[in-house]
């Protein structure tokens, strides 16, 4: 009798706990206008969850987004990104000019820009920063972005020039195409060198060089007995014309390049501290910064505390007194802190998928906008059965992306390599080229749409054609001959990845009768498996654009050693992109890029899945912070609005709602460049 009482007590105990939890859980449903405590902090210091612990405070090393946002607060470069559309706006450069074919830029620096230690910033600081970044000694994961700069890649790769009989060997004599280069700004000794015909560079490592030369007998013959001159930091295309004028020369025209100078790699690093402290220069006692904020206190894994830097050239327009970055990754913890009013905003994708439905209800806080980031399944085109284009197309057509996106709640379906709805002018070019293609084929618009979208019937037909007949049994299909034991759908461990994979798996099962086994892997195990093309079948590929241009996505499949992970390589596609990039007319260039994209998608190296969307919340009193395509926040625009009447309302219109304070600040900042442009 007694025992039974004890037992029932146990059950009652557990049930009570769970029911209590449930009751309180439900009680947290939308009740007030705002989610949790909503009160601007009294000390005018923004509390922001930045995601994972920053790897380092050295902006040239890390390629992470959490770091990028922190660097934007403490370092500045030539340009900054516009808080709304991420286009370049003046920063340390108050204005700039470009050569007609966009392969050379001259930047005019401000005369009042200073380091946090009070030292003035000059063009030589930029030369130092870039030389350091491109040095093979600097282990940078972003330096590739700068390889358009003349001889930067050769320097980074430890290459050498070849000097024979007092003359350097030239590219044009060995099959290279000499690009027409135009100088802008005054002529100097250095500019003469940069605008002379491009020199041949070859690997400085003897073994690798011999291997490369073996494939090119003409060059090998020429190199024999020649003097090898290392490419040095002094050779790269960056020049301080005077204290406040900087010239950057590219090896070819790149219309999207100015925007890239806002990237963390191009932000200034302090020569004065690096020379003195070496690897310890990022320690709080040694660090010298040049952004709107400087480091106040750093407690790794707890908080990075910044304060407004009075030496910053635009300090008068920095509204916050400080920022606290919290490195927290657990999404529900972030949401809890937000609800308790302990943080004001958070990094992108911080709202867990199960909360999205509820968060949408908070119209003044939830930010859901197109993002410059995409998800694909790469297919290994080097291993059967996915070396067969029919199989690849079948799997692409057998997936209902509309359903996937409505299941994922915040994403949009994707049918191409580059994200749709982010590059507006490019979308127009895509539509035009698509229409051309349709007219060429002479099919109806409906049929043309079907061609790339969901078409399970066609998918089954393609599979049958490729030798894997699909049988219909009642409502279901089966494809018994398809080697499901040889293929997998591999992704790195993450709840969202898993949920997409499970959805896609069941789609293929329903539409084609094929159950592709799923395989989740810890990230570092996944990387060599994916990049080394060890997988067979599908691998998940997520990509975020580095700059606002479709090329940032199409270059995934460019070149032999590309990052696309499919093993795809097509010289014709590369040539189409190269030609497009040397086109000066913007819209014409977009059309050429669009043609290349259609050509690429005809070969189905990847199954595009979704265009991601921003998915985060901020308190309505935080103003001047916008969900731009990369969620990159120029912090000096951010301010707290104390007056609840002026708080953000209905943030779906956040980009179009005027904010006089912000608009004026942005306008003033842009004016220096607009004056030059006119």
């Amino acid at each position: 009798m007694m025992e039974r009482q004890g037992y029932s007590r146990v059950i009652v105990g557990i049930s009570a706990l769970l029911i209590a939890a449930l009751a309180f859980g439900c009680a947290s449903r939308p009740s007030g206008q705002f989610f949790g405590k909503t009160e601007p902090p009294a000390n005018n210091t923004l509390r922001y969850v930045s995601g994972s612990e920053p790897e380092t405070l050295d902006p040239q090393i890390s390629d992470g987004q959490p770091e990028a946002r922190i660097y934007m607060a403490i370092y500045e470069g030539l340009v900054e990104c516009d808080p709304k559309d991420q286009q370049p706006i003046p920063a340390i450069a108050k204005s700039w000019e470009a050569s007609p074919n966009l392969d050379e830029f001259v930047f005019h620096l401000r005369d009042n820009a200073k380091w946090s230690d009070g030292k003035p910033i000059t063009a030589r600081d930029f030369v130092y920063s870039m030389r350091r970044g491109f040095s093979p000694e600097t282990i940078s994961r972003t330096a590739q972005l700068g390889f358009f700069i003349k001889y930067a890649e050769a320097f980074k790769s430890g290459f050498v020039f070849v000097k024979k009989n007092g003359e350097f060997l030239l590219e044009k004599d060995f099959g290279g195409v000499e690009k027409d280069s135009q100088r802008i700004g005054p002529e100097t000794e250095f500019s003469k060198f940069l605008h002379s015909p491009a020199r041949v560079t070859i690997d400085g490592d003897e073994k690798k060089r011999n291997k490369a030369l073996a494939a090119d007998p003409k060059l090998a013959e020429a190199v024999k007995g020649a003097e090898l001159v290392p490419v040095t930091a002094e050779d790269i295309g960056v020049e301080a014309i005077d204290d406040l004028t900087l010239r950057i020369s590219l090896r070819q025209g790149a219309p999207f390049y100015i925007g890239l100078f806002a990237n963390q790699f191009f932000r200034l690093v302090p020569a004065q501290s690096i020379e003195k402290n070496g690897k310890n220069w990022t320690r709080p006692q040694n660090i010298v910064t040049n952004g709107p904020f400087r480091v106040k206190e750093y407690r790794p894994y707890d908080v990075l505390s910044l304060e407004k830097d009075p030496n910053y050239w635009d300090a008068a327009n920095v509204h916050l007194d400080g920022i606290e970055f919290y490195p927290i990754e657990e999404l529900s913890t972030i949401m809890n802190l937000y609800k308790a009013g302990s943080i004001d905003a958070m990094l992108n994708h911080a709202v867990p998928s199960s909360w999205i439905g509820e968060m949408r209800g908070y119209k003044d806080e939830y930010l859901n906008f197109p993002e410059m980031s995409t998800a694909y399944y790469a297919m290994n085109v080097t291993k059967p059965p996915f070396d067969d284009i029919r199989i690849r197309r079948a799997f692409s057509l057998g997936l209902d992306r509309e359903a996937l996106s409505s299941f994922r709640k915040v994403t949009k379906p994707l049918y191409y390599m580059s994200p749709t709805g982010v590059f507006h002018d490019y979308d127009k070019a895509m539509a035009k080229v698509s229409e051309e293609k349709r007219a060429e084929k002479g099919v109806s618009p409906e049929e043309w749409a079907k061609n790339i979208k969901f078409d399970p019937e066609q998918a089954r037909k393609l599979l049958t054609d490729a030798g894997f007949p699909v049988a219909k049994n009642g409502d279901t299909y089966s494809c018994p001959t398809f080697p499901t034991d040889k293929v997998t759908l591999t992704f790195n461990t993450n709840e969202n990845n898993r949920s997409i994979a499970e959805f896609v798996q069941s789609q293929w099962k329903q539409n084609m009768g094929i159950t592709v086994p799923l395989k989740t892997m810890e990230f570092k195990t996944f990387l060599p498996f994916f990049k080394g093309l060890e997988y067979s079948g599908f691998s998940q590929l997520l990509w975020s654009g580095d700059y606002v241009d479709p090329y940032s996505f199409l270059s995934l499949e460019y070149g032999k050693a590309n990052e696309g992970g499919s093993g795809f390589y097509d010289p014709k596609f590369d040539k189409m992109l190269d030609d497009a990039n040397s086109e000066l007319d913007m819209q014409k260039r977009y059309e050429m890029v669009a043609r290349a994209e259609f050509y690429l998608m005809d070969q189905v190296p990847v199954i595009p899945l979704t265009v991601n969307a921003t998915n985060w919340i901020k308190k309505p009193y935080v103003k001047g912070m916008y969900p731009n395509p990369g969620t990159l926040i120029p912090w000096k625009f951010v301010y707290f609005e104390k007056d609840p009447a002026k708080w953000d309302k209905d943030v779906a219109n956040i980009f179009t709602t005027p904010d006089p304070k912000f608009d004026k600040q942005l306008e003033d900042l842009k004016s220096t460049q607009q004056a030059v442009a006119k």
Binding site: M2, E3, Q5, G6, R9, V10, G13, I14, L17, A20, A21, F24, G25, A27, S28, E53, E55, T56, D58, I61, D63, P136, E137, I139, R141, A143, Q144, E153, K156, S157, G158, D205, K279, N280, W281, T282, R283, R299, P300, Y301, D302, Y326, I328, E329, E330, S332, T333, N336, L337, K339, A340, S342, F523, K524, T525, L527, P528, K531, A561, E563
Partner: protein, 296 residues
């Protein structure tokens, strides 16, 4: 001292595992240019034969110098460990003390009142912590204490009130272990000859319990305490993640996932020394606690 060579064995085996594991610290989403990879390999001696690399590593370890973290550049491993140990240690020790208090009390009480409702009552409560995983318990505590009663902050380090929830979460599971081990250990001891003798001498129940039975009865708890306390000091991943605390546990897991070799080796060496030290203390305390154990 045997501890140092043992720690070196652990470090060696761990080093081997890291080298077998796929991926390396510098692999990332974007491929590195070949020359940069070559620089890295040269800088960290990865192009040397393995025995040379091992020799370098082990001689550094012997000198107590684990070098810099590979992921968090410019921070030395020793600095990271000593910076985060106090956080883990504070939470771990507080949680273990709380668990000991609850567990010993519940276990002893249950053993004395075996098979009565006074046995099952405390035991049921103790087992709650065992049956509800801490990744479930923690959010429920947060919902209840932070968002319903507004007693404690939901996360982050800062002041004693921020420690309450993590300590309770962590203590729950250990209290359950201790309670059950105590109950079993006490029952075992209570029927043994020396307790009979003590009782026959006419000593009171309480004297017998605390002067004699208790010392022997908590032996299983003592065995458990060594490794448990070491593990607690080295941090507890779930609690640190849910409550966003800067403890060593999460740092260690990340180090493994990042293949941050010096940091992994540093923490492993530290942990193995702790484990062996605590186990040594446990072994010695056996002799004091249980008159039946004699070391030859």
């Amino acid at each position: 001292m045997i501890i140092v060579p043992m720690a070196l064995i652990v470090v060696t085996l761990t080093w081997g595992l890291i080298r077998i594991a796929p991926g390396n610290f510098y692999s990332g989403e974007k491929k590195l240019p070949a020359a940069v990879e070559a620089t890295i390999r040269k800088k960290y001696g990865l192009d040397e034969p393995w025995y040379k690399q091992y020799g370098m590593m082990i001689s550094n370890v012997i000198r107590g110098d684990f070098g810099d973290s590979l992921k968090y550049q410019g921070q030395t491993v020793n600095e990271i460990i000593w910076r985060h140990l106090p956080y883990s240690a504070t939470i771990g020790i507080l949680a273990y003390l709380l668990a000991l208090a609850i567990g010993l009390l519940a276990g002893t009480y249950a053993a004395m009142k075996q098979n009565s409702v006074l046995d099952f009552g405390p035991m049921s409560l103790a087992m709650l912590g065992l049956s509800v995983p801490n990744f479930v318990l923690a959010p429920i505590l947060v919902i209840f204490f932070a968002f319903t009663l507004y007693l404690f902050p939901p996360a982050r380090w800062g002041g004693p009130s921020s420690l309450v929830l993590p300590v309770i979460t962590l203590a729950a599971i250990y209290a359950a272990y201790i309670a059950r081990l105590t109950r079993a250990g006490m029952l075992e001891v209570l029927r043994s000859d020396y307790i009979r003798t003590a009782r026959a001498k006419g000593l009171s129940d309480w004297t017998v319990l605390f002067r004699h039975a208790f010392r022997g009865g908590i032996l299983p708890v003592i065995s458990f305490t060594g490794p448990a306390l070491a593990a607690l000091l080295a941090g507890t991943v779930v609690v640190e993640k849910v409550y966003a605390l800067p403890g060593l546990g999460d740092i260690f897991i990340k180090a493994v996932l990042n293949r941050d070799e010096p940091l992994i080796l540093g923490i492993v060496a530290f942990l193995s020394i702790l484990i062996m030290l605590f186990n040594l203390i446990v072994d010695i305390s056996y002799g004091f606690l249980d008159p039946r154990i004699r070391y030859e």
